[in-house]
């Protein structure tokens, strides 16, 4: 059942954009890596298109990799039952750690993007209120990054 739906959505996306990169990270869900320039456009298309209707973003994860930061969007269609995982990568981990916001497409992303900005330092272009969420405004650094140093509170085992 799920397998069929997965193949279904994979076919739809390949029909739209033939050269997108699919990763095999997840055994369950179809995972697709989207170029950051077309992220917003792609997610809007996924949300509004009759075939996909992925209107519910149930998770937004930020991950720190050595070369780039990655944001993972878990999308689900409340009507069709399809699930798709979309990944977007920033150019680097410093100056250009920027992605377009999707908070106007999925309102839930408003908080999630603030969290990712706070803990990982991905700046979301166009976010209406991009402030730190958990930490204080004057906090230095982004704790969920792998190179974040806190000699007092982080005990490496």
């Amino acid at each position: 059942m799920n397998k069929m739906k997965n193949e279904n959505i994979k076919a739809i996306i390949q029909d739209w954009v033939p050269d997108l990169e699919f990763t095999e990270d997840s055994l369950e869900y179809v995972t697709v890596v989207v170029p950051r320039a077309s992220l917003r456009h792609f997610l809007r298309k996924l949300r509004d298109d009759e075939q996909t209707k992925l209107d519910f973003m149930f998770c937004l994860t930020g991950v720190d990799y050595p070369k780039y930061l990655e944001v993972i969007y878990h999308l689900e269609s409340t009507t069709l039952g399809l699930i798709l995982v979309v990944k977007a990568r920033t150019e680097d981990r410093g100056e250009n750690a920027v992605l377009d916001t999707v908070s106007d497409l999925f309102r839930t992303a408003e908080f999630h993007e603030r969290e990712v900005f706070d803990l990982l330092g991905v700046r979301f272009k166009g976010h209406p209120d991009l402030r730190r969420l958990f930490l204080t405004e004057d906090w230095v650094g982004h704790p969920l990054r792998k190179d974040y140093v806190d000699t007092v509170n982080i005990v490496k085992r």
Binding site: F58, C59, H74, F111
Partner: protein, 375 residues
């Protein structure tokens, strides 16, 4: 009638002011800080300031083994401790590709439903307190105590149980378990109607909740609201039905859906869910199959490279555990999608234009547990 329509002189200029609701405030049930912009009594803006109980659990997981991570999760949503544990256990089992025995599945389902009941009971007590009826709290605790006793007997703890482990259960159920659960169900079936007579049918309570804070279906989906809060708006988001896990595919129960999406509907959905939870437990409690309670796993679990996502339905909504593994004994990154976090983001949208008292009632129906939001 919405309060704005009551203002006789719309041109009359009033000054808006800020008020700090929390971090110590009776209605936020924890260390949540809401920065309210008020116009008299009317809420104009709700700005949530989180992090007062942020413990960096996601960072801690990067240094812990998978067995240790399970123990962190019930410190998040401590009222849905079993569900949180289950999410991590299922995600790890997914990574190891082991299938637990039927006995484990059934026991896990009974335990999570008992947790749901106890969580909803506490919520019912608290919504009464938030609307000013203090007696509900004690009534709820009378019944909740019985569930806690059942947990204590089997799991050894009353709140943060840590009973589920990757591969099964910590140990087998107590010999008294079935009898006590049945006793509790019998007892609670007579007490749940009392909840209705005390609070649900109260005229003042109805006036305070009906037609207040209406959440449309589209908004519920867009804001990522899950759980009873979204089901009251008609969103089919019950993961027990949508993506059944453990033994939910073998029991028969109704997904409670509302239509109006107002505060009272959210209240009603939760009350009806308690009946459904009892129904689920009744179906399983006499049919616990024999079997292994713990599958053999290595002492230090190492997951293969990849992403393992598990969604479970807690008492508050969808809880997700996302393990991103690079093949080591600790995850490379672990993300917890907590229901309260997304549910909180809708508060500003819902409370705008309503009174402070309505804000408190709206917050009560989403049943926030602050450590679950902050993680």
């Amino acid at each position: 009638m919405k309060t704005e329509e009551l203002i006789i002189n719309p041109q009359g200029k009033t000054e808006e002011y800020f008020i700090n609701m929390g971090p110590q405030h009776p209605a936020t049930h924890g260390v949540l800080r809401l920065l309210l912009t008020l116009d008299g009594e009317i809420v104009r803006k709700v700005d949530a300031d989180l992090g007062y109980i942020h413990r960096s659990i996601e960072k801690m997981t990067e240094f812990d083994t998978y067995r240790q991570i399970v123990h962190l999760t019930d410190r998040m949503d401590y009222l849905s401790a079993h569900m949180n544990n289950e999410a991590v256990c299922l995600a790890v089992e997914k990574g190891l590709q082991i299938e637990v025995s039927d006995r484990v599945k059934v026991i896990r389902t009974i335990m999570t439903e008992l947790t749901r009941l106890s969580s909803h009971q506490l919520w019912w007590g608290v919504i009464g307190m938030d609307t000013g009826a203090l007696t509900t709290f004690m009534y709820a605790f009378r019944d909740r105590e019985m569930i806690n006793d059942i947990f204590e007997e089997t799991c050894g703890a009353r709140l943060t149980m840590n009973y589920f482990v990757p591969g099964g259960l910590m140990w087998d159920i107590h010999p008294n378990f079935q009898k006590r659960v049945k006793d509790f169900i019998k007892h609670f079936k007579t007490k749940l109607p009392e909840y209705d007579t005390l609070l649900s049918d109260n005229v003042i309570f109805r006036k305070r909740t009906e037609g207040i804070g209406i959440l449309s279906k589209e908004d519920a989906i867009s804001f990522g609201v899950t759980g009873p809060g979204a089901r009251a708006s008609g969103v089919r988001c019950d993961l027990r039905k949508k993506h059944p896990y453990s033994a939910y595919d073998r029991v028969e129960f109704k997904e409670i859906l509302g239509t109006k999406g107002d505060t009272f509907e959210r209240y009603r959905v939760r009350i009806l869910e308690m009946w459904e939870s009892m129904h689920i437990i009744e179906q399983l409690i006499d049919n616990i199959p024999e079997g292994e309670i713990l599958e053999k796993t290595k002492a230090v679990i190492k997951l293969p490279k990849g992403e393992f996502y598990q969604r479970v339905e807690t008492a508050r909504g969808e809880f997700g555990a996302n393990i991103i593994s690079d093949g080591k004994k600790s995850p490379y990154r672990m993300k917890f999608r907590s229901p309260g976090f997304s549910n909180l983001s809708v508060i500003d949208h819902l409370a705008k234009g309503w009174k402070v008292a309505d804000l408190v009632a709206i917050m009560a129906t989403f049943d926030f547990v602050i450590p679950d939001i902050d993680r």
